[in-house]
């Protein structure tokens, strides 16, 4: 059996039925073996989209997404997507073609050291040097990608190994990370801190969803009655309309969330890593709070903020051990008062489309059942602030890397992982152009992806920062020469609709929710619109700038 067949058989044995990729020279033996393999290959139009689509697929299915590309530029084009998966702890297998082993290290045509290039952004990686190693490598890669803190694993496959033959297989030498048992002394210390805290806050991160601790976390919230804030990736840990949810914290967080965290005396941090976008100026973050930090990854404990109690292990088990009732009714009332006094207002003046209201209505009318994928920029923050999100895998966003171009291919992956879902990619006029070629993929596979393109004719978030922090010296943010996006969509065979006034919002929402196939809604807004509140760089989360709708 050839190496390529062995590789695909090993993937099939793991349950892989979909692979995202783009063919080329060194990976051709694998593409030959794909014919009749039983694995569906989704031909994207840029390798970066293959990795992003695999990422979206993984986040929805909770199984590794698989992407592949050839050597050289095919491999390097995967790197952004691999880095995205690494920073957001998404399980992924990335397979790259490579020159034949005798040519490696000779600067052969299209030879790049993709193994070396990706070392900082993979959980692990392999160069397959022997055909008979392939089943072992696939098996190990799968275990590594999925166990503990998930992440991407790269398999670099030289052409002669893919085309070579082997009858025997080497056994696996890696038997997985040892299961860590919870530290019961630390659990006792955490319980003691919780029992005496007067102003506790639950700080919910992306690890809750990734670690399949959602149900236990919600029981924990119910049992303790502690108010909840979340990171960007923690949105949906409790439904965002939950009475105890104060909102996202951090740079574009809600006033209630940020003020409650700053005033707290105990932060119970669950599956989060004290990202600077969440904490603001770290040495002024929650200055009077003690910290209980729970994470599957022991390396996150104490990395940025000292934990009074650090507990490394499965989140669900730790949360079950810590369930208790609390006597914090005055604090809870205070937090809910903050939330009520600082509730979003949607009565913006004028007749232009007010994006926060559009997003609120869209997600509410779908009762939180949309799968929202985001690109990066102002629209990403508006989604986080205003959409009804009922669970983390309904909100796919590039949190750690902040990669423009993520939204559309991630929506493709989400659709393919679960065709019953309605996926809406919320994007901007800057972001859509990063991977707009994927409209061809959407059309080819008949994916019912909806695209809500928020067009402010600018790189809006950069423009907002130049306005606020660079004395309105606007540099290279003008996109007023954008193409006609509806015509672009139609040229790919996708229906389009343009809206620009408030009385068209109902029509846009109706189309996004009920149009049977793919659809692009081009939503033109005021270029001066900004995202509020905003914690200025270098400030604590107590400093929140508030603006007005232009």
């Amino acid at each position: 059996m050839k190496g390529a067949d062995i590789l695909l058989r090993a993937l099939r044995e793991k349950g892989v039925d979909t692979v995202f990729g783009y063919p080329g020279g060194a990976i051709m033996p694998v593409y030959d073996a794909l014919l009749g393999s039983g694995i569906r290959h989704v031909l994207v139009r840029h390798e970066q989209a293959a990795a992003f689509a695999a990422d979206g697929y993984a986040r929805v299915s909770s199984r590794p997404g698989v992407c592949m590309a050839t050597y050289g530029p095919g491999a390097t084009n995967l790197i952004t997507g691999i880095a995205n998966a690494y920073l957001d702890s998404v399980p992924m297998i990335a397979i790259t073609g490579q020159v034949a082993t005798p040519l490696m290290g000779t600067d052969a045509f299209q030879e790049v050291d993709i193994f070396g290039m990706t070392l900082p952004v993979v959980k692990h990686s392999y160069i397959a040097r022997h055909v008979e190693d392939l089943p072992r490598i696939v098996n190990e890669a799968w275990q590594i990608a999925t166990t503990g803190r998930p992440g991407p694993v790269l398999i670099d496959l030289p052409k002669n190994i893919a085309a070579g033959e082997a009858a025997v297989q080497t056994p696996s030498s890696w038997h997985g990370a040892p299961a860590s048992s919870l530290d019961h002394t630390a659990l006792g210390q955490a319980a003691a801190l919780m029992a005496t805290a007067q102003r506790p806050i639950l700080y919910a991160g992306g690890g809750i969803g990734i670690g399949r601790a959602l149900k236990t976390f919600r029981q924990f919230v119910l049992a303790t009655g502690v108010p909840v804030v979340s990171t960007l990736k923690g949105l949906g840990s409790v439904p965002t309309d939950h009475p105890l949810f104060l909102g996202m914290m951090g740079m574009h967080g809600t006033r209630a969330a940020n003020l409650a965290v700053q005033a707290s005396d105990l932060l119970i941090v669950i599956g989060a890593r004290f990202d600077d976008r969440a904490t603001g100026k770290l040495d002024g973050f929650a200055p009077n709070a003690r910290v209980i930090h729970l994470d599957i990854d022991p390396a996150e404990i104490g990395k940025l903020r000292r934990a009074d109690v650090g507990i490394s292990g499965e989140l669900a088990a730790a949360l079950e051990s810590l369930q208790m009732t609390t006597a914090i009714s005055a604090w809870r009332r205070h937090c809910l008062g903050l939330k009520a006094r600082n509730a979003w207002r949607y009565d913006a003046p004028g007749n232009g489309i007010y994006v926060p209201e559009l997003l609120r209505r869209l997600s509410s009318e779908a009762d939180g059942e949309l799968t929202l994928t985001c690109d990066v920029g102002q629209h990403q923050m508006w989604v986080a602030q205003h959409c009804l999100i009922r669970s983390p895998e309904r909100h796919l966003t590039s949190g750690g890397l902040g990669a423009m171009g993520y939204g559309l291919p991630a929506a493709m992956g989400a659709c393919l992982a679960d065709p019953s879902r309605r996926a809406v990619a919320v994007t901007g006029d800057g972001s859509i152009m990063i991977n707009i070629q994927e409209l061809a993929t959407v059309k080819r596979y008949g994916l019912p992806v909806k695209i809500l393109l928020i067009d402010n004719q600018a790189l809006g978030m950069v423009r907002q920062w130049q306005e606020l922090f660079f004395e309105r010296r606007f540099s290279e943010v003008d996109l007023s020469d954008n193409p006609d996006f509806v015509q672009v969509a139609r040229s790919f065979g996708i229906e389009g609709l343009c809206v620009e006034s408030r009385d068209q919002v109902g029509e846009a929402i109706d189309a996004l929710l009920h149009h049977p196939g793919a659809l692009l809604v081009h939503c033109r807004i005021d270029p001066a619109e900004n995202v509020w509140p905003l914690v200025p760089p270098g400030h604590t989360n107590a400093t929140m700038l508030e603006g007005t709708t232009p």
Partner: protein, 87 residues
């Protein structure tokens, strides 16, 4: 602050460069290295002098231990000349 770290790695492609790269990317400097084979088969032992301007070594050790090829990581107590298991 300078500390000595002793690591035992699987003797596989990329293990050494992956580990050294992580140490530097996490804000530490490697100022000396010795490497030898280990009594355990298919293992390498690295002894590194590492400096940091205030970043915690215990966190670095946990980050190193996340690497699949790393079998063990120790902080060596230089003032006593003896090696103690830190992780």
């Amino acid at each position: 602050m300078k500390r000595t770290i002793e690591l035992r790695l699987a003797r596989v492609e990329g293990a050494v460069v992956r580990t050294l790269g992580l140490i530097e990317r996490r804000g530490f400097s490697v100022t000396a290295i010795t490497m030898r084979g280990d009594a355990a088969p298919e293992s390498l032992v690295l002894r590194l002098e590492v400096t940091s301007e205030g970043r915690p070594f215990d966190v670095l050790l946990r980050q190193i231990l996340r690497l699949i090829d790393v079998r063990a990581a120790l902080l060596v107590e230089a003032q006593h000349g003896d090696a103690r298991a830190a992780c």
